[in-house]
Symmetry: C2
Subunit: 682 residues, 2 copies
């Protein structure tokens, strides 16, 4: 009943993948040969029989997506054989400095890599984002006779990924969402780094995925039963209302003398083993990187088919444009990554006389204002919708229509209490294209998703974190929920914009920045408590990352602050003014943007001549870069009504005035010029 | 067939819990009344019928442990009713500043709280650590006729916890480990913050836990079928080879007009609703915090039983001491938290002439040396044993004996690829007492466990992270695996010691510190690559957190560094010496210890008079606190052989010499006194 009969070229192609895996890892003298060798048959069947891709245009929108969750050399080998921009020399450069073939596949670094993998579980979960994106874009744009968006997402995953919590979270959500476009192949090779999976991983994986509402299939001989692999993938494609996982029993390092042991997991094969392997497969034993012509031909056929499919798709899209010009314009704009002209005019603008509001509320007002003009936005919360204020009134939930709770055209995602998967799914949504994802939780629990945020930043995925309840201002929930270290963590992460807006205009600016910086994730740290609108805060000012909010010449002190503390330091400045002291105020809502400003500007904001004091309700770590003296949280927060918690930590106008006076006196007594921390040798 | 017949006092006690929950949250005007009201029957049956505890001695070693994973007021209510050090006034002070009843239960803050909960999933996973600890201590110390250690761990958990990945990881491991001492009661109330769990959580929980090898029971009417609850707990206690989860169908906010809706989840009940509730239960409708005498009597009986049990246990322990004096001495020492006399003499000491070694290897040598004298150590790795070098040769795995892979007396835990659960389980192991847990992964993946590390620190749990592959020195694995931001993250976290030892003696010091600072978790950041042993590094010096490694008067520059970069800056200093420039070197392996030194000492190490340059292969964020100029990683790392990666980022002796020269010239040109960053107003 198989629709597939093994041909000699199939054997050759599979042997090519296996020997290349040995050679690539062998030449680098580093890497993981075992999994690619074991998964070669599955990779071969998938890419030769099913996978729609045009290697000459890795960005074709309706391509199938491939995610190698147990990220390793296999992906580079397949990209090369399929004809992507990855040469044999690139394969030989595996894990070498400056190569496009680093230790683990990085999106944005190597053509054809959809999402970054290697950190276990991330690929598994990101792929759910790719699946959500397909289902959503199809629901919004496909029309009768125009099945424009119908790709599959194929995922290879191993034991390691399945042990990670982020994968469990994503799997449960994918089952709930009935994502029939997801096909996972689980490399059940019984081996992880510590040896046999019997030491730590004895759960019943099939039963577990059944509990998540997945279709579960299995192939008992993944080493050579190509027909069974073919049939399983074909069956998976037929299931439209469930994700599928195919448990594929394989032999890690198949063909090696050490096959089936963890000896082939993370270390190169020995030279004689590689020779024997090649001899076994009828390959020249002493020739490295041998690729038979037939192998190139097999995968060349996939490339030819894909190029043809893209051409047909282009024609379909063009005729769609005839019939549905508005949808066509919107879809192509979204695919291009360009925002609609004038969208930013919708951003709320505030005057100081406008009522004080929590920045989480200001965020809701932004979302309410821009959602009608930005269909690209697709967001949700990890079960804190009513607290994060992320669901605008007109929103429709992204849900399987059969639930009666929404539909796939809906843009609001109910993530459940699954922060880590939410972050990884955000990466998948961003990677798919046409979607700008936002995700929401309490700021403190962005830490649960640290592994995913890191990969957003490394992979340049534009994911927007709506991180409310941003400090001790959350009050009663207490220290377990009050971030102290979180801002420092993400400020230290390259390519993350951490925003902490002080009022309405700064909140609008944070969204403007997050939406226009398309290569950078942003974390918007938003208050639970009300914040007054400030004189001097404007979108333009805030977009410099930092600016002088209150200017005065010959100052005795500059106080630099962020978010909810800015109005407190303004109060302190007023108190000090009554004592005849001149205090400038700088608002610094986004360090990374400020760091990008010209040196002259930065020095004009944080200028020499008087001490600079930073005030922020977090750990002070890092503020030494922008100030001479720091005032913040010395330890954990506390549980209580927020005003009392602020008072306990001295974060009140009167106390900051006392602290400021102390700083002024100290530097006066010390004498000598006070030089700006911006004046540096390096 | 029930062993339980409901009496009127049971109804009264349950009504007391329900009305107290409404009053406690109502008075605070903040909190979660619904879950305590729904779980009151289960709490009542558990605490009145099964739970062994002596409220007068919350540290009795063989007490049953209770973990309220969906941490809320219920735990405080039960502690009060049972007679722990938590008064009615403390209940009235719920969520008030300075109270012992903060928003979520914190271990170390409130008597009787075993582990901190609230951040979802943490309690679920920490409880697995409590279960491992019991199984282990029993296997080591129990003897025929001396069933000294046989407590159960009872856990209440909700939908939110079950959605969290950390709970999935822990559940899979607990099933593998066949921990029959774990009894979880799942509050299946169909409600989370976003509303009905139908919006995001539709998996089959029973099937999922069966897949993990748990015993799965259920009670269909958790609102009033006390007999069924009793029977389920009794049945759970009988299953010795599997953890049990009892799915208890409850009505959230039972008794409220809004029962069964998310309206009762996270907000106080209205006044009239509370009145009606009390009337319904026959309580005075206008009296707040009404506690009938019968209720105190019911739980007083539990306390009386517990006090008697402890007395009997004390006698058993004493007679154990007669028969097994050695084991008795060791057990009581371990329970007391005291290390054995002279253990530190086992720590390796190095001379500069000793061979260079990776600090992960030096860590292995420490573990090898101290394991024989420190039976308290119980550790493992998240499937990176061969890379972390955490399993000493003589180790026995902690495994169910039936697996043939080890036994419960074994001290080496195979965590699988489950970093977050590993961190939380570490908290449970530390909380149990008698065990000092270490856990291991690549430093980069400590971030996956951020939620657990944070609670180690907040709860003062002594968990030791062996975090190897600590920077770009891991080389080929590339940026996905190279920590840049991780040190800043944990240095910004209160009560975490981040260590980055530079050589053998500093590695020994890091362990000495981690083992003796019993209220603080430590993260030991260890290199993959070899590090030379340094002249001037000693245990005593390193234990100050920072010290002058190479002293010279009238210096032109001080370079402060850590870990693998210390030998690089020494090389730079040598190069600059050849140019006639005097460079002091400071090693600063642990910032938090250094910060605890007297101001005078800190100023003597990082003294005024010459610029200070920091060099470390991480983000420079935070180094401004200790230096005038910073050199580190400006962005992500790179994949390649580590020497080449170091060279790419300028982290070589010759380049640091160039950088140092630039700093010297800049400050000479700038003129004026160079003041130490230790000289501060605040």
């Amino acid at each position: 009943m198989s629709g597939f009969t093994t041909k000699p070229t199939d054997e050759v192609a599979i042997a090519t993948i296996r020997t290349l895996a040995a050679d690539v890892v062998g030449k680098a003298n580093s890497g993981h040969p075992g999994a690619p060798m074991g998964m070669a048959p599955a990779a071969h069947v998938l890419f030769s029989q099913f996978f729609n891709t045009n290697p000459k245009n890795s960005k074709w929108y309706n391509r199938d997506r491939f995610v190698l969750s147990n990220g390793c050399a296999l992906e580079y080998i397949m990209l090369h054989l399929l004809g992507f921009k990855l040469s044999l020399d690139d394969l030989k450069d595996f894990r070498q400095l400056g190569s496009i073939t680093p230790g683990h596949p990085e999106a944005g670094h190597t053509d054809g890599i959809e999402v970054t993998t290697g950190p276990l579980g991330q690929g598994f979960a990101s792929a759910v984002g790719l699946g959500i994106a397909q289902a959503h874009m199809a629901a919004v744009y496909n029309k009768d006779g125009f099945d424009l968006i119908n790709n599959y997402t194929y995922v290879f995953t191993g034991d390691g990924c399945l042990m990670e919590g982020v994968a469990s979270e994503a799997a449960s959500l994918a089952g709930h969402l009935q994502l029939g476009n997801l096909i996972y192949i689980y490399d059940d090779n019984h081996i992880s780094i510590d040896g046999d999976t019997a030491v730590a991983f004895t759960e019943n994986v099939e039963q577990r995925f059944l509990s998540y509402n997945w279709q579960v299939l299995h192939v008992d001989n993944g080493d050579s039963d190509l027909g069974a692999i073919y049939n399983a993938i074909a069956e998976a494609r037929e299931e439209k209302n469930k994700p599928t996982i195919i448990r594929l029993r394989t032999t890690i390092g198949y063909g090696s003398k050490q096959q089936g042991t963890h000896g082939v997991h993370g270390a190169p094969l020995k030279a004689d083993d590689i020779q024997a392997l090649k001899t076994k497969f009828g390959f020249p034993p002493n020739e490295a990187f041998h690729i038979p012509k037939e192998t190139y031909e097999v995968y060349g056929a996939t490339a030819t088919r894909g190029a043809k499919l893209e051409k047909e798709w282009d024609a379909l899209l063009a005729s769609y444009g005839q019939k549905y010009p508005k949808e066509h314009a919107e879809l192509t704009r979204r695919i291009s990554g360009k925002l609609p002209d004038g969208w930013e005019k919708s951003l709320p603008v505030y005057k100081p006389s406008d009522a004080a509001q929590a920045s989480r509320k200001l965020s809701e007002l932004v979302l309410t204002a821009i959602t009608p003009v930005l269909p690209d936005l697709m967001g949700g919360s990890a079960d804190l919708t009513g607290s994060n204020l992320t669901r605008v009134k007109a929103a429709v939930d992204f849900q399987p229509p059969s639930t009666g709770l929404g539909n796939y055209a809906g843009t609001y995602i109910r993530y459940g209490v699954r922060e880590h998967a939410m972050g990884a799914i955000g990466n998948g949504l961003a990677a798919y294209g046409g979607i700008i994802p936002f995700v929401a939780t309490f700021m403190n629990f962005v830490s649960y998703a640290a592994g995913a945020v890191r990969l957003s930043a490394l992979s340049k995925h534009q994911v927007i974190w709506v991180a409310t309840h941003d400090s001790i201002g959350l009050g009663e929930d207490g220290p377990t929920h009050q971030p102290v270290e979180v801002a420092a963590h993400f400020r230290a992460t390259p390519n993350v914009d951490v925003w902490r807006p002080a009022d309405g205009n700064e909140t609008s600016a944070s969204y403007y920045s997050a939406l226009t910086r398309t290569q950078t994730p942003s974390i918007l740290c938003l208050s639970r408590q009300n914040l007054p609108n400030l004189e001097g805060s404007t979108l333009e000012n805030a977009l410099k990352g930092g600016y002088v909010l209150y200017e005065i010449q010959n100052e005795d002190l500059t106080i630099v602050s962020t978010g909810s503390e800015v109005s407190i330091v303004l109060e302190a400045a007023q108190k000090l003014k009554e004592e005849g002291l001149k205090v400038r105020i700088v608002s610094l809502p986004c360090w990374s943007l400020f760091d990008e400003q010209p040196a002259e500007y930065r020095l004009s904001v944080l200028r020499s001549g008087a001490p600079i004091l930073s005030v922020e309700a977090y750990s002070t770590l890092g503020w030494q870069k922008y100030s001479h003296e720091q005032f913040g949280l010395p330890s954990w927060g506390a549980s209580g009504p927020y005003q009392k918690v602020y008072a306990k930590f001295g974060l009140t106008g009167p106390n900051i005035a006392v602290v400021g006076k102390k700083v002024i006196d100290f530097y006066k007594k010390k004498g000598g010029e006070v030089v700006s921390p911006m004046v540096k040798a390096l």
